[in-house]
Symmetry: C2
């Protein structure tokens, strides 16, 4: 499979949708990994990021597992995106442009302005969809 970027957001939505579907039953990373079709450690890495963002909570031990930390109606896809892709800022130049050139000296500030606006528009769309809506859509398709 040729995937350009990382698939953490896709897995994170999948994981939280599972938790929302099974609530209030906690799910183990091994069981979740069976649906996502990956390794339990990969799932735990995603769950760890989601927990840091306050979206899920996990407990250890023989009856342990993970559950949503908030109602699915109060979790948006933007929350999930920020939890697992927080430092994915759009890339500028690898090397700083030539400051002796008028274009090189100022291009990055212009680029940052427009990229920030574009990213904000993308995030605004993600903010309009709640996890509850995703869970509902999955129920309807199933």
């Amino acid at each position: 499979m040729l995937m350009t970027r990382n698939c953490r957001f896709a897995v994170a939505v999948h994981v939280t949708a599972l938790l929302g579907t099974m609530a209030p039953q906690p799910c183990t990373s091994e069981w979740i990994a069976g649906s996502v079709n990956t390794n339990p450690v990969v799932v735990r890495r995603i769950l760890s990021a989601l927990a840091k963002a306050g979206l899920v909570s996990s407990t250890r031990g023989s009856t342990g597992g993970s559950i949503l930390a908030k109602a699915a109606e109060r979790i948006t896809l933007l929350d999930i995106h920020r939890a697992v892709a927080e430092d994915e800022t759009p890339a500028l130049h690898n090397q700083p442009p030539n400051p002796a050139c008028p274009v090189g000296r100022n291009i990055q500030s212009v680029l940052i302005r427009v990229m920030d606006r574009a990213e904000a528009a993308k995030e605004a769309v993600l903010a309009t969809t709640t996890l509850a809506e995703v869970v509902g859509a999955l129920r309807n398709e199933a």
Copy 2:
């Protein structure tokens, strides 16, 4: 430098802004590379993608170089983005999810719907800015 994604879009805007600033004078990849602070071959790769999209045109030989193929007013940042980042679709799962699970069976179609909407919103912002506006902004800051 820790850059998450590729910097082709940033370089492409830089290159076309240079061409717009210097028009109608053609620019060599070596001279452009001096402003971008990279290797001429890197610039030529970007120029090649931009030429395929009909945004620039290059000529060889001792008086050769590259120029914009259209007026800067008629080139948007979306044109440039599509020229150099055409196949950068948001990533889904690496492995297909488990089709025996109701969530796994349908999560990707739901994800594609919302990701497409988010990507469209981002592109709409890029479409609102023309290369001429970028060149003008650079002139004002210089």
